[in-house]
Symmetry: D2
Subunit: 140 residues, 4 copies
């Protein structure tokens, strides 16, 4: 199981604004796409988690914007596991432009929720199991 | 019961693109907001319809763009009932800029769906009742 | 030069709505992404067209929705050239789900605009040249 | 000149996701709408600032989500000035549901940019002038 993964995203015309750059709200959406792909690579598509009654709800997000992303840029987004404890998962993201610029860094805290009851629940063993590097992980 | 209604929408910065105008996909979203407000004015908020097990699903949409909408424009959107028959509702929209320009015209066809069964069902009587102007209406 | 091309798009969680399906406005955005990829495959990235002072502005769009697209679906979108004449380009789209369902069909009419002057201009020769299949093409 | 202001936003159907709540990226967009309205109330529409060659670029955003926002909720968004110094503006936001729930709190840092040169510049006097409460303000 990999503690980090990289996915690529192409900036859509619709994602730009009249300032000529990708709108700052899109980075939050890209983080979501990046963690979706990270989960898929780990063999646990988010779709399956939801079908098994688990939801990962964003409880905190922060982004620092360093350099604009432009239309048609093929961005590389790295997702890193920062911590997984109890009902809480913390992930970090780094977005890099095709020109090698650091576009932004960010973090999300995700709360693991039981879909039926709408209440916090322990993360699936998958995230927490003893022989997993996740247990030893700690936030940056 | 009113066969048409007007609502206003302020163009958000996020809705613009690097061409300096509102992105053409937003007009489809504005139509949705406009019909939501039209239903509310008629005393039938869409939220209530969904709570009563009815969904109005878009089965067709068309838009003709005449003039760009710009950031911060306070647009007037007129929603008109074109027809209501069986499980099918047709609405027309006209979007006008604060400068009086015709921004776009459009149509949507909505299919009335039973939420539980996921199948087409008759529109609520509200749309079809005998003393309603809706019965006499016809598509443009 | 190819008159049609296929690209794939993964439905984002953000693109779903509380009805449990991809929101109908997203299909219009996917058409844009599909034609962007089609232009790239043909060796004419839209970014280059804009840098050369040409903009393709959507003047009409229509969509018929046949089957919902769901979260995480890897959709296939076919873009077909319907016609290219003067300042006007017509494209058709067919979106198919990974289950083989026809999600939607649609058309866009694009107006070729001189960016500086903001006025209609002839499509670049690329779209119109004599030995191109485009010249013989006609709208559906 | 008011250091804080409240605006309302109606949650659009398009803004919900299949989890049945407003998608967490939308809160970032609502912050933008809220500060746009706050600037308008203060007599300095953002549109005017851009026309005068000034851009306010988001350099940091953070959100803590406390309670979901639902379709059709009429949310109250309070914008508060946290600090205005040199080229940097910090704003805080509190989003409240019509049921009185605290939906989220957040902050944005905005960098004042000279549009022509694309470089940081001093905030307009409007934000900094001596008899303004802004000068005495400090970050939370």
């Amino acid at each position: 199981m990999s503690r980090s993964g990289v996915t690529t995203i192409r900036v859509r015309y619709e994602e730009t604004d009249q300032g000529g750059i990708a709108h700052h709200s899109r980075h939050v959406v890209w983080f979501e796409t990046a963690r979706t792909e990270w989960l898929r690579e780990m063999g646990k598509p988010y779709l399956e988690l939801e079908q098994q009654g688990v939801r990962l709800l964003v409880s905190e997000v922060s982004v620092k914007y360093h350099f604009p992303a432009f239309y048609d840029d093929l961005l590389a987004i790295e997702t890193r596991l920062l911590s997984a404890r109890g009902a809480r998962l913390q992930l970090g993201y780094t977005v890099t432009s095709p020109r090698g610029e650091l576009v932004c860094t960010g973090n999300t805290t995700l709360a693991c929720i039981d879909k039926e009851r709408g209440r916090a629940r322990r993360l699936p063993d998958f995230f927490l199991e003893g022989d997993s590097p996740l247990v030893k992980s700690s936030p940056e």
